[in-house]
Amino acid sequence: MPEIKVTPLGAGQDVGRSCILVSIGGKNIMLDCGMHMGYNDDRRFPDFSYITQQGRLTEFLDCVIISHFHLDHCGALPYMSEMVGYDGPIYMTHPTKAICPILLEDFRKITVDKKGETNFFTSQMIKDCMKKVIPLNLHQTVQVDDELEIKAYYAGHVLGAAMVQIKVGSESVVYTGDYNMTPDRHLGAAWIDKCRPDILISESTYATTIRDSKRCRERDFLKKVHETVERGGKVLIPVFALGRAQELCILLETFWERMNMKAPIYFSTGLTEKANHYYKLFITWTNQKIRKTFVQRNMFEFKHIKAFDRSYIDNPGPMVVFATPGMLHAGLSLQIFRKWAGNEKNMIIMPGYCVQGTIGHKILNGQKKLELENRQTLEVKLQVEYMSFSAHADAKGIMQLIRMAEPRNMLLVHGEAKKMEFLKDKIEQEFSINCFMPANGETSTVATNPSVPVDISLNLLKREMALGGPLPDPKKPRTMHGTLIMKDNSLRLVSPEQALKELGLSEHQLRFTCRVQLQDAHSDSDTHIRIYTHLKSVLKGYTIQHLPDGTVMVESIVIKVSSSPEEPNTKVLLLSWSYQDEDLGSFLSTLLKKGLPAALSSM
């Protein structure tokens, strides 16, 4: 029986270094190729030796698909394609293709230039890797080869994020990447049609959270920023350059405008201006409202938000600063944090998820003393606020997506094991489908039961549909007969007559005849009538005829009676039927062997 296998190399019961292998219909697909922010060693990248111990990956993979530009989904791509070795196609959407190399370069710079790591991918490798990328459009069916096709759906989450459907024949898998089921200030909600995949592989970051209304969270956020600025404090918001940052900028921009606020808002430079430009050019990927009004007013041209310079860190007075990266694991955001952490007037707002091992994760867990490199410690006095703005589907959203796509099986990745467990139970209860949650390196197997496509002759089909009437009767199903011709990989279903004609075969006639002796004290013609009456009463719903020459016919079975003048009461019944009527024929011979009931009224 055909089966689909799913093996996470990363993101199995974990968040970070998403990388999931899928085997379907003889094809192998890698979904995402991310890095782990919480590690600085080998565990940073997925373990590609699972695929092959040595040599390149090209011959083991039919394609690689990247769902969106976050580094935990694409950070290992140049390592995989250029250092391990992969030359096949890599698919991603246009915005992802545009933004992904910038983030990779940024990541490389931090790792190599700042931390001084060697044996890391180079700028040239990022460029070479991106040359292997084929852009995907939404809803376009891309034929990877003759059998494998993929299709992208809108996922919300970040600019250009996509869910992908992978299809071989009638088997299919949908991988959600990260997605968001409620529209936000700059992106729309994820959508998929009722494609009934064999497996739906979903992220489950917020498997147990049901988030309160977005508006409340926004009001909360603005209130906190406002209060801090009013009392002269500084607000640090660590973000990734693209995504949440733009949403919060739109939020603050409109608030500053409305409240006529004067305190400066800064955005760490370089990446960001460029980032806003990407949003302008890819406006078709944003939400309805922004798309509708972009000609009059482009939401990504900010009036109040200015570029940040390192020298502003020590400026007196209140300010709001957006700085990268979002988990405080390196870079400018960490640098600013160190300077501002000691003052209780200041505030840090963490608008997204932080993986274990990062400073972001530590302070969110209430750690008040941080150990830095070279044995320094940092006291955290500023206020720490966590506001979940990350655009992931919550439990409600995940259930909603299941209802949309109607999968036969569910598989959870990109979440914490405990939370997954909870959601798994809920899914299995509510939808009565299997739900898997494999750990990294563990394989989940789902048997599929594909139906067999066959070409049916239109004559046969039309005849059957005409006979069957407009509505089939569930109690009395009509059986149709046909002959399946298997020739050169083609399967054709035609009427038996057509099959013989086509193949130049003549049908053999096979007839059975049988004699049954019977004691019946009547004339031959009366016996005929008695048999006719008897069979009429036993065989309801069959055509029984009494022919003029005395013969009785049941469907196509002929029954004749003869007797010798010597023993007129011993009748010899001669039964004859064709091979097609074998069942009825042998039934009749058994029945008649038992004799005719005495009480038959002769007509």
Binding site: H94, N137, H139, V295, S451, D455, T479, T483, L503
Partner: protein, 614 residues
Amino acid sequence: MKLYCLSGHPTLPCNVLKFKSTTIMLDCGLDTTSVLQFLPLPLVHSPRLSKLPGWVSKDGTINLEKELKECAGRVFVDSQPEFCLPERELLDLSTIDVILISNYHCMMALPYITEHTGFTGSVYATEPTLQIGRLLMEELVNFMERVPKAQSATCWKNKEIQRVLPGPLKDAVEVLTWKTCYSIQDVNSALSKVQLVGYSQKVELFGAVQVTPLSSGYSLGSSNWIIQSHYEKVSYVSGSSLLTTHPQPMDQSSLKNSDVLILTGLTQMPTANPDGMLGDFCSNLAMTIRAGGNVLVPCYSSGVIYDLLECLYQFIENANLGSTPFYFLSPVANSSLEFSQIFAEWLCHNKQSKVYLPEPPFPHAELIQTNKLKHYPSIHGDFSTDFRQPCVVFTGHPSLRFGDVVHFMELWGKSSLNTIIFTEPDFSYLDALAPYQPLSMKCVYCPIDTRLNFHQVSKLLKEVQPLHVVCPEQYTQPPPSQSHRSDLMLELQPPPMPYRRCSVLGLPFRRRYERIHLLPELAKSLVPSEIKPGVSLATVSAVLQSKDNKHTLQPVPKPLPLPPSKKRKRVVEEPPEVLAPKPLLSGSVPLEAFLAVLHKVRVSLKTLNTYLAC
């Protein structure tokens, strides 16, 4: 399978395909050449136009001086301009299931089809087609509504009267179906029925038919369509281009193996080379400006104008025209320029890679930024204060009957220093200029039509090899003005099937097979036997299920077992319910083996011999 042809215009097609119980409309082009019979609608009062004499027949019996005006020997209708609609009587428009749109020029009749006709289906188009199509419709409505005309002329349409009118009005066809422009409400309602599709997206219609748009290379988001079932394939080719301009290149290979290819929208200028025309355009423009004159370019607000601006972007520096102002006037000028920059996915590779930098794909962004190109919604407002001459003005409508272009014709027509350069191929420039005669301004005709020419199309057809080609009758003979040019027509084997307005063609199709699915349990129960080398047969007895045009075969359900108490008594008397299928008997009988078996079960050979003998 049938094709109903509702438009006779080869580049503004409107056909309806009936295929496997679906009714699919292919494009709904609006023939706007009818407006050439009308007087221009001036934006400000024009003494010249209002003084034109009315028309009275020579013998004085017919007096239509209120409706018809004479200008330079031609007669024009003085009324709100009207368009020639697709045929609406040939079939019931409410039975149309879907409308497939190939490009924004071929959807202008949409409100006439979807509104007030009982239409309940949906419309499929790409996002750029929808957005730019919306702009062009809004522009058209705006042009009409901002200069309302009180009177509407109808008497001249009377058959008896039209017969005696001077040409070309006498020869105008289908005048009774002509209609004035739709309203903005109709546009919004019609466009709300559009469902967006992407290239190579497979859209299922009622489970019976699959339609797929393919890039056609002609304009932003323009598409050809594949309409297919598992066994039949119809390609609809409309407005396609193989030239490298701004749109994504044409997808040719997906058109292969078509049973029928419906071919419309070839170039209207088969003898004009677009590159040469572009060169002429630039040199005439430069010449006029240097001589101190103004240049007027009547054009649509989207399409070739992007290429013209790109060409000028490179040209103006070299030609030393850096200080000449370029104006683009249209109620949708700003939107058109902005929209062109956000459809990177639909652009050619070169432009696509620009957004990765990130830079706007079209250089007109830079022309606007450096103030070389300015755009205004109309001649009123800011434009009147900014206006400097000599200058270059791009504005609509290319028919010269309405829009801001009418104003510039009145303003600049008197001076021979000025030049009007025609770039759009949809209207005869002589007819367009007729109501402005006598005219002193120079006229240059540089029609740029990037659609396929006859040479390209015959090469394409050789490559994709459709079994049958259907095309407008105009393509099966050389153009009337160049009747000796046998290279300007389609010559194919078998010859193409021509259509004209109101034709109904039976397409040569024989459907013989349909897709059916055997459920895995049924497939497993089959016993194939090899009849000939490589050919196996299996007898199938199953229950047919047909739902949403999808067919499946499932195993015959086993009869319910009888309650055990009665079972023994009745088991013999129950006649067999289901006739188990018997394999077909054919081929040679292995006689030796057969006899051996019979011997084993003790059938005497003698009896057998008597049987075989009879």
